[in-house]
């Protein structure tokens, strides 16, 4: 097959270190003693837990339901008992906690009733919904809910669909083995995506250091009778980045400000296609994934691992060397050291590397940047990392944005080549999260300002209304009294012209006392009005315009209070306020 491949600028060639874990076929990891399944395993909303401590669950049973469109469901990886729904440390560089469902397996590994369907009988919406409910997310590492990527742009026709089997990061081989051993299911999964997106071409990109995988995929494509093209791309990190692979295969460049569908192209990982096929055709939600266990270990190998398996238990399977001092999740270029060895495997975990100083020597101290430009030459997005570094370091975040910091994919090429050993990516991550935090703060401040101004406006308006009402009432009272006084005067047979009667000033002497009384009454009336107005003002009408959520929260609390016997006291609290 002759095909014109494109090149992306930059890139580096770190030692691949892949052969170590390629020697053995995929093995099933044994059932761990405990499974800690984080609810938030994908981009988007955190799924809501639908189980409680003590519940019995079956393998594949829903334990967290998707919250919103960009969110994916979470399922029990095996049958057993829910021990708790609680906060646990996450496999995340922060080392912070998040909500997890902890399951004690019963050992039976009993599936829920699986309903295989022929997706061709379903509407695209139904397929997408099934994928969401099965928790299918991008398994290349980004864990974006897959159903969210399966809608073509309304204006731009889909031209190419790129399937990512490049796996460019050193050490990782899970996609390689998946394609070698389960190529047919991968191809069928790609078929689902193809049918939903209707692209003109399907291009499967595999780095040319995986000839076996490419051959297996070609054979599978032929066996299934599809017309997908399996293309071997040059081995160059980060050719497996979605944007780089799209560039290599189609020549299109997707900037950070655009979605790839806007350019008529979409990209999926091979493992995602595999899980999509399992989910649709076998009714199996995503409860396990392939994980490469390698690095400073005796027997590097790929395992099929249940989501929620503690990493240290998993690492033992490969017998780590005694000097292992940490676990890197992901590859050596973009991965991170997990905060604790017992954090669970999640959907994003494609590789665990036993860390040791022998394998990854500690870094030499950071030297000043000498502007040698190596980073700019290595950057696959053609950024100027040393400029962004300069401004990130000085916390001049506006400038970092001028140099397109948000187009940085944090691939680590710049840090890899830097002769000054500057942790460039680290500076960019720092700058990005600071910019995001500021954005959040700015939004909050704007909102607060708006609300404050609205409240002030409301108070002004209410005050004005009260004053107006008051003035009206006082005037009416005065007029009434005057009229009464006039009537009384008339009754006292003091002839007064009608014109004069309307004004209390020139009333005759006997009615003077009456008028005075009337004025007094009017002031009292006014004072009472004022008091009433104040009382009204003190009863803020703030229970309107609430979001259903807030309403619900308030009602919940009220009901809790009611059950707790804390019925609001009957004392008229308004008096207290005065």
């Amino acid at each position: 097959m002759l095909m014109n491949l494109f090149k992306f600028k930059g890139g580096v060639k770190p030692p691949t270190n892949k052969t170590q874990s390629l020697g053995l076929p995929i093995a099933m990891a044994p059932m761990p003693s405990r499974l800690v399944v984080p609810l938030h395993q994908s981009i988007g909303g955190t799924p809501r837990p639908v189980v409680e401590a003590g519940d019995k669950v079956l393998k594949g049973q829903l334990i967290g339901e998707a919250d919103g469109w960009i969110s994916a469901a979470v399922h029990a990886p095996t049958s057993g008992t829910v021990v708790e729904v609680a906060m646990h440390v996450q496999p995340h560089p922060s080392g912070l906690d998040a909500m997890c469902v902890v399951i004690e397996p019963d050992g039976k590994d009993e599936w829920i009733v699986r309903e295989p369907v022929d997706y061709k009988s379903l509407t695209p919406e139904q397929v997408r919904e099934r994928l969401q409910q099965a928790g299918v997310v991008g398994l290349g590492g980004a864990v974006f809910p897959t159903h969210g990527k399966l809608t073509a742009s309304k204006t731009v026709p889909m031209e190419e669909m790129v399937v990512n089997g490049a796996e460019c990061e050193p050490f990782i081989t899970c996609d390689d083995l998946l394609m070698r051993e389960r190529a047919e299911e991968v191809v069928r999964g790609i078929g689902i995506f193809r049918d939903l997106l209707q692209p003109k071409k399907v291009l499967i990109g595999i780095e040319d250091n995986k000839p076996e995988a490419a051959a297996a995929m070609r054979a599978a494509v032929e066996a299934v009778g599809e017309d997908f093209e399996v293309i071997q791309v040059p081995t160059l990190y980060p050719a497996g980045g979605a944007k780089q692979l799209i560039r290599v295969l189609t020549g299109k460049e997707v900037p950070a400000s655009k979605r790839s569908t806007d350019l008529g192209v979409q990209c999926f990982n091979v493992a995602t296609a595999y899980t999509a096929w399992r989910a649709i055709a076998h009714g199996e939600p995503v409860v396990s994934r392939l994980v490469t266990i390698t690095g400073n270990v005796h027997e590097p190998r790929n395992y099929e691992v249940l989501i929620g398996t503690p990493m240290d238990e998993l690492l033992k399977l490969a017998t780590p060397h005694p000097d292992t001092d940490g676990i890197v999740m992901g590859g050596p270029m973009m991965g991170f050291l997990v905060p604790q060895p017992d954090v669970p495997v999640v959907k994003a975990t494609n590789c665990l590397i036993a860390h040791s100083d022998r394998l990854f020597p500690p870094k030499a101290p950071e030297m000043p940047c000498i502007r040698c430009g190596s980073c700019a030459q290595a950057c696959p997005h053609e950024l100027q990392p040393f400029e962004m570094y300069w401004f990130s370091r000085a916390k001049n975040f506006g400038k970092t944005q001028e140099y397109h910091i948000f187009d940085c994919i944090e691939c680590g090429c710049c840090s890899f080549v830097c002769p000054s050993r500057i942790p460039l990516v680290q500076y960019f991550r720092f700058a990005k999260s600071e910019i995001w935090a500021r954005e959040r703060e700015k939004n909050a401040a704007d909102q607060a300002k708006e609300r404050f101004e609205f409240k002030q406006y409301r108070e002004e308006r209410e005050k004005a209304e009260k004053a107006e009402k008051l003035a009206k009432a006082a005037a009416a009272q005065a007029a009434k009294k005057a009229a009464e006084a006039a009537a009384a005067a008339a009754a006292g047979e003091v002839p007064a012209p009608a014109a004069e009667a309307s004004s209390p000033a020139p009333v005759a002497a006997p009615s003077a006392a009456d008028a005075e009384k009337a004025a007094k009454l009017a002031t009292i009336q006014a004072a009472m009005e004022r008091a009433k107005a104040q009382r009204e003002a003190a009863q803020p009408k703030n229970t309107e315009h609430l979001t259903p959520e807030q309403q619900r929260a308030a009602e919940e609390i009220e009901s809790r209070r009611a059950t707790a016997g804390l019925v609001p006291p009957e004392t008229p609290v308004n008096e207290k306020s005065e």
Binding site: P255, M333, P365
Partner: protein
């Protein structure tokens, strides 16, 4: 535990980069030593010592880690460039003063490694040629091959600076002759004096230039420098000198003469390519190199100083930030941003 990705790093460091630059200078130095004798090696040692002492003192004052910065090699590169641009028999204190000035003022007062806006070696050259024009123009007469002891005595000021020493570079000699001749002198006739000018641009000097060229090409092959600056420098120098030479070959020397004389080759490959004080974007590098080549020619032919490379590079250093700002390359995915979306 905090350990940032990537965990794999390429085997490279600042001292490796600087060491390779020094290695790349070796062919040029060898040719130079063959031409003028071991004096140049003495100057290299003097400059290196002065640089290391100044560097140590400045690092000590700033409480920066000594070992880390002394071993980075940047001071040595500066020192060697100074030694190679100064007259080989200049008094020792002149080289030392220039080097100390470069390290203290041009490098550390601006923040040290990586922060200097000007090429320190060229600052030293400019300062010294402004302050001590006579000493900086005393080059050994052509063919003068003093033994080491005599050279040492001259450098250390123990022997009188003999008249034979007060020669000039071929470049300077040519300019002076043309200027004094006021049109009566002919370039071709001058060049015919092979004792001074050899076949191209000064007897023996073409070999030194050739040595720098070899070293520069090696640096390019090792990806220490990109082709942009040297090529642009040479191209612009050739273009302007060629144009004037074609216009009036009697009064303007050929491009070959200009390329092979003075600091042209050293400047093109080792001085203008200094990344700290130069441009960093590809287009910026082209502009920088072209500008430096052009200015170098103008200063050396029409100006009052014997060679123009130092001033040309310093002037372009001044412009580098602006050039960089205006030549930012288009990034991935934004190259056809102006043309709108493809259908």
């Amino acid at each position: 535990m905090f350990a940032p990705a990537p965990f794999l790093l390429k085997d490279t460091s600042v001292s490796q980069v600087m060491t390779q630059v020094c290695i790349a200078l070796v062919p040029g130095i060898a040719a130079y030593a063959w031409l003028v004798g071991p004096a140049i090696l003495v100057q290299l040692v003097i400059a290196s010592l002065a640089a290391l002492i100044a560097e140590t003192a400045m690092l000590h004052i700033q409480k920066k880690p000594l070992a880390m910065f002394l071993s980075d090699g940047s001071a040595i590169v500066t020192a060697w460039l100074i030694a190679l641009t100064f007259p080989p028999l200049a008094p020792w204190w002149l080289v030392a003063t220039g080097t100390v000035f470069a390290i203290v003022v041009a490098k550390h007062l601006y923040g040290g490694l990586g922060q200097n806006p000007f090429n320190p070696a060229m600052v030293a050259f400019a300062i010294c040629i402004v302050s001590f024009p006579a000493l900086m123009s005393q080059w050994p007469s052509v063919g003068l091959q003093l033994p080491l002891v005599d050279q040492l005595n001259v450098i250390l000021g123990l022997a009188p600076r003999v008249d034979a020493l007060s020669g000039a570079t071929p470049l300077d000699a040519m300019k002076t002759a043309l200027k004094l001749g006021e049109g009566s002198q002919d370039v071709a006739a001058l060049l015919a004096n092979q004792d001074i000018y050899g076949n191209f641009a000064g007897r023996g000097w073409e070999w030194v230039a050739f040595g720098y060229l070899i070293g520069g090409l090696w640096m390019w092959q090792r990806k220490l420098i990109t082709w942009h600056v040297p090529l642009a420098f040479i191209a612009s120098l050739v273009a302007i000198s060629g144009a004037l030479w074609l216009l009036n070959p009697a009064q303007f020397a050929s491009p070959l003469f200009h390329l092979l004389s003075g600091g042209a080759m050293l400047g093109a490959f080792f001085i203008a390519t200094d990344p700290v004080s130069g441009c960093t974007t590809p287009r910026g590098k082209l502009i920088f190199g072209a500008g430096a080549g052009l200015l170098a020619y103008i200063i050396r032919v029409f100006g009052g100083y014997p060679d123009g490379v130092a001033f040309a590079v310093l002037l372009m250093n001044l412009c580098a930030p602006v050039i960089d700002l205006l030549t930012q390359p288009k990034i991935f995915g934004m190259k056809d941003a102006g043309k709108g979306d493809r259908p």
